[in-house]
Symmetry: C2
Subunit: 337 residues, 2 copies
């Protein structure tokens, strides 16, 4: 998902597979293998040996164990260090993938390992709560625990989330933060919606918080976290390069006078959400048709089988919808929170 999205938008991608699975874990089962940390390090060495480590950006996603997290942290620090003489020439997006679909993907010791490396990241993208928020209270607990571990703030509502973001800026000096898929409390008769809340730090460590609200599609998709992260990488770079001089500053942090809603991070997120809404709405429409056909056959299946059928029916229709990626139509705008 992430590799294809970045490639189709013009990035040359060196994919370092931290797992090789037959399918994503939305199916509840998979064959394959987690890449050992030593192999990740070895592959990175291979890139260095042939001078193929001149990366402009890095996106780290699913890292299945603490050792791999540490291996990636070493890579990231080395790449950052190489770029010290050229501010802004290397940017690291850290997507702390920990679980999805109600399952914890990673070993328990991954959370503290992330805590050690998070201060080096330029943008963190905590995993989405997504449609499963509420439906999968376990995941919600993981994510909130993660934030709480990092920020020491107990998150129960938008105010405490803002407080947590503030603490993350202040304590870890993380330049950019985006939290995705925060469910909105819909009033009676209102359509359910999801919010994305983000912030870029100011020179004195304060947040600039914006939010973007999008309609919630009543459907569970797998891979949308990777899709969001990969699109953010492309669009944030684009937005940074559209602001004179910004791409040559450390971590692409906008001048203090830039308002929350005018941040490159906010502009990027608007485009990203437009692309995602396009692809996911089409995915849902096709998936609904497939499920209708299945129900029309009136065969009885058990819960496990139904999950397989549904997972396949709602596989994100990415390759046929490149137009949504390339030409997003912005409908949902960032607002000050």
């Amino acid at each position: 998902m992430a590799g294809f999205v970045m490639q189709s938008l013009g990035c040359e991608v060196a994919a370092l597979n931290t797992v090789n699975f037959s399918n994503h874990l939305g199916y509840g089962q998979a064959k394959g293998r987690k890449t050992p940390a030593s192999e990740v390090t070895d592959m990175y060495q291979g890139l260095k040996d042939s001078h193929l480590d001149d990366f402009n950006m890095m996106l780290s996603g699913y890292l299945p164990g603490a050792e791999v997290v540490e291996a990636v942290a070493i890579m990231a620090r080395e790449l950052k260090y190489k770029a010290t003489m050229k501010p802004g020439s290397f940017f690291w997006i850290l997507d702390p993938v920990m679980g999805d679909n109600g399952r914890l993907y990673v070993a328990e010791d991954v959370v503290p390992a992330y805590k050690n490396m998070i201060k080096d990241a330029d943008l963190i993208l905590p995993n989405q709560f997504e449609a499963e928020y509420g439906r999968y209270p376990y995941l919600r607990v993981i994510l909130l625990t993660f934030y709480r571990t990092l920020s020491g703030v107990k998150i129960t509502d938008m105010d405490s989330l803002k407080q947590a973001i503030t603490t993350l800026h202040e304590t870890y000096r993380i330049p950019h933060i985006i939290v995705t898929s925060i469910p909105s409390l819909a009033g009676p008769g209102a359509e359910p919606s999801l919010s994305v809340v983000g912030s870029t730090i100011t020179s004195n460590g304060k947040p600039r918080i914006f939010g973007i609200k999008v309609p919630q599609l009543d459907c569970f998709f797998s891979g949308t976290g990777d899709m969001f992260a990969a699109l953010m990488l492309v669009r944030l770079r684009e937005a940074a390069y559209n602001t004179e001089g910004l791409s040559e500053t450390d971590s692409w942090v906008s001048a203090d006078e830039v308002e929350a809603v005018d941040l490159p991070l906010a502009c990027a997120a608007e485009k990203v959400l437009a692309s995602m809404q396009g692809v996911l709405a089409r995915t849902k429409a096709k998936g609904d048709l497939e499920m209708e056909k299945f129900y029309a056959k009136d065969v009885e299946v058990d819960e496990k089988e139904l999950r397989l059928i549904k997972s396949k029916a709602y596989e994100v229709r990415m390759v046929r919808n490149l137009d949504c990626l390339m030409n997003p139509e912005i409908t949902y705008k960032a607002e000050t929170v």
Copy 2:
């Protein structure tokens, strides 16, 4: 390379990585790991477990050992068997990758393993001779040995190649064959060119041989064999579906009255070569600029270092040139050989 090309042209791809390397072998060195045959089989089992094995086409590329070749042969036969009640619903393109850039990639016992499975393939695409033809006589020997092993015909010129193709059709009943990158003997003053020679079997096992001649770019690229194979997959399917009823026949073999130059295989190859010439010409132009810059610096490097620099400079510019893939402009037409 292959995965991205197919995805960007609208295919949903399940990539079963038979190797995980830090880089392609054009660099002369790489870190990483060959996937053991048991893991390939395991991944396929994972796809079956979740009903994700409903493939329309399969492209098999680099298989690093005889055991993996056998594992893939079992997969292919099973997928073919599943499709027996629906002729044409599964099509297997076998690209017998054995070497490139003067190096044998695979174990010696791979050649006989291929021999055992080749009769089940719908299209075989022997690896390209490419620019290294002549420059790397070793590779030429491997490829010719492969043909000779299969066909029993010693290939020295176009006539013996035609004879070999005829034998492959007759002996193994391979429906479609394409041999790429056959250097043309240029007359004095003529631009050097490469030919692609292909054939689709007739109902009585005879060949219909066509050739397409393209200008030879004086440059070595890595990954063009995968690019050719992936593009052929997309364009051959498209051509088969453009001929009424053909996609519902076994192996998409055209009726006997269809002339060589009008074969879907020929039409597909024309489009494929147009895309490739576009991408590679742009790659060469950019690569030449990079090398000019390098030479202008006037630093002394050893042969190994120069190879790394050249390999990187001439990395195929794929992601920025999607237009060549999507809208190929046909300039070189198939001719009867």
